[in-house]
Symmetry: C2
Subunit: 285 residues, 2 copies
C-alpha cells in the first residue's frame, strides 16, 4: 500500500494508475476506522479499481462548540487496517496541506443541508460538501462509496455531484451495526458502558417504527412522538431530533405515503449519536 | 470542427482526445462572440491543446430585472467564427441540458463576490461560479482562459480553482479594445451611436487615473471622486460604481501603496458597461 500526505504526490500516483487504464474508487473518511468503513472498502475493492482512502478530520464541518479537537484518531492503526483491507493508496493530508490559506469558496447545499443534523449543526454540511468536492477534485475518482448512517450527507453528495456534473458515481452502502443493533460510529468510543447499553434503544425504536408503518400507521407526527417518548423514557440520552421525512429530498412528510427516512440524533452526555432507517412505502392510490 | 449540445457527446469526444494524449484547453463564453473572445481562442490554440469553446447564457447569473431574455445571440455566426479561429469542439448546451431540474447546490464566493459588480448584482457571482464549476466538471480542461474585462470574475474563478483544488490552470487574457479604447463587450451592440461615442470616456478616465497614480497621487477616495465626476460630466451614463481596490483580494484600499484595481460600471440607458485597469504600485517602504 502506498501512502502520502501530499496532494501533488497523490496526483502523480493516480495519473500513473490512470495511464495504465485503471479506474479509481474512492472512500473518504475522518479516520478511527471501524467495520463500517471496512464495508465501504470492500465495496470499492469489488469494482476492481485502484482504491484510494482518505483520512482527514475536516475543521470546516465542525462548529466552534463541537468535538473537532477531541475527534478520535489513530493513524498508524488505521493504516494497518486499510492495508490489510486491500486499499491501494492512503491519503492523509494535514490541515495545512488542505487549507494553506483560509478558503473563501464554499459549496452551499440549501434546504437539504439545513434540516435534520443541519438544524443544530449550522455550517456542517456546507463544510462537508466543500471538503468532499475538494477531495473529489484531488482524487478524481470514477466511483465513490458513502455509508447510509450519514444518510443526509449521502443525499447531499449525490445531489452535489448531479447538480455540478461531477463525473463520479456515488454509491450508498448500508449501515454496519453491532450485534445489538447499535450503528457503528467512531464516536461510540466515547460512550460509558452504561450509555453503550442504553444506546441500543436507537436502532430498536427505529425497527419498531418500521413495524408500525408496515402495520398501517401513516401519521408521521404520531410516530415521531412515539419514538421520542420511547427514547426519552428508556435512556438518559437527550433527543436532538426525531423526524420522518421524504427519503429523496428530505421534504416534510405528514402522511406516510411514499418512501420515508426515519432519522434521529440523541446526545449521551457530550456524545451525539445518529441513526436512521429508510422505509419504502407504496404511494397510496 | 465538432459541435454538440449534449454533455454525454462532449464527454465521449474529450475522452477520445485524452486517450490520444491530447491536453484540453477551454474557453467559456456566453456567445455573441467578438475579438475579445477570439483573443482567448488564440491563446488556447497556442498551447497546442484540443480547444473546447462553450456558448451558454446561464440564467443563474442574471437577476430577475437583468437582461437574460434579451442577451444577444447568433449561434450560427458564432459557430462560423470559432471554426475559422481553429476551435476543435463547440459546446452549446440548452438550459434544459445544463439544468434538467432546479439545482440546489451553489458555489458561494463570499466577500469576493459581494463587492463591485456583486453589490448591485446579488447572486451574479454565485451563479457564475456555479456554472463555471459545472462546465469545468463537464469539460475537465487542463487549462482555461478568461478575459480581464471581467476582472472580478477572473479573480473569483482563480480563487475557486485554488480553494477547491480543481486541477486546472486559469490564465488571464488582457482586455481587447476598440481603437478609441472602448472595451469589447457583447453588450456594446445595444448602445445608440451617441452612447457609443460617449462610452469612450470609460477607458479614457481609467487611463487618466493611472497617469495620476504614476504622477504620485496616493489617495484612493480622491481618485475615485475625480473619476466619478469626470464620467458624470462628460456623458449621459449613470455611474453604478467607481472603485479602487486591492488587485489581489478586492479588499478596501485607502492609500494606494500596492497593486490596485481601478474598476467601474456605468449604465447607458439600460445597457450596463464595465471596464477596469490594474495599476502596479510598489509598496511604500
Amino acid at each position: 500500500m502506498k501512502r502520502t500526505s501530499q496532494i501533488n504526490d497523490l496526483r502523480e500516483i493516480i495519473a500513473m494508475e490512470r495511464s495504465r487504464g485503471q479506474k479509481i474508487a474512492f472512500v473518504a473518511t475522518m479516520g478511527y476506522l471501524h467495520r463500517g468503513h471496512l464495508s465501504l472498502i470492500e465495496r470499492a475493492k469489488q469494482t476492481g479499481a485502484f482504491v484510494v482512502l482518505s483520512i482527514f478530520v475536516n475543521p470546516l464541518q465542525f462548529g466552534p462548540k463541537e468535538d473537532f479537537s477531541r475527534y478520535p484518531n489513530d493513524l498508524e492503526q488505521d493504516a494497518s487496517l486499510v492495508k490489510e483491507a486491500g486499499v491501494d493508496l492512503l491519503f492523509h493530508p494535514t490541515v495545512e496541506e488542505m487549507y494553506p490559506r483560509p478558503i473563501v469558496t464554499f459549496i452551499e447545499v440549501g434546504q437539504l443541508g439545513s434540516v435534520l443534523c443541519g438544524a443544530t449543526r449550522p455550517g456542517h454540511f456546507r463544510g462537508m460538501a466543500t471538503v468532499v468536492s475538494k477531495l473529489f477534485h484531488i482524487v478524481q475518482p470514477d466511483i465513490t462509496f458513502f455509508g447510509q448512517k450519514d444518510y443526509q450527507q449521502f443525499l447531499i453528495i449525490q445531489r452535489m455531484v448531479s447538480d455540478l456534473s461531477l463525473p463520479i458515481e456515488v454509491c450508498p452502502v448500508s449501515i454496519a451495526r453491532e450485534e445489538d443493533g447499535l450503528a457503528l460510529s467512531s464516536r461510540n468510543v466515547f460512550l460509558t458502558s452504561e450509555q453503550r447499553q442504553e444506546a441500543k434503544v436507537l436502532s430498536k425504536s427505529l425497527n419498531e417504527a418500521e413495524t408500525s408503518i408496515r402495520g398501517g400507521e401513516r401519521s408521521a407526527r404520531k410516530l415521531e412522538d412515539q419514538l421520542r417518548a420511547r427514547i426519552t423514557l428508556e435512556c438518559h440520552g437527550v433527543v436532538d431530533y426525531v423526524e420522518i421525512r421524504d427519503a429523496e429530498d428530505l421534504s416534510d412528510v405528514t402522511i406516510i405515503d411514499r418512501p420515508v427516512l426515519i432519522a434521529l440524533a440523541v446526545k449521551f452526555g457530550s456524545t451525539r449519536l445518529i441513526d436512521n432507517k429508510v422505509v419504502e412505502v407504496e404511494p397510496h392510490v
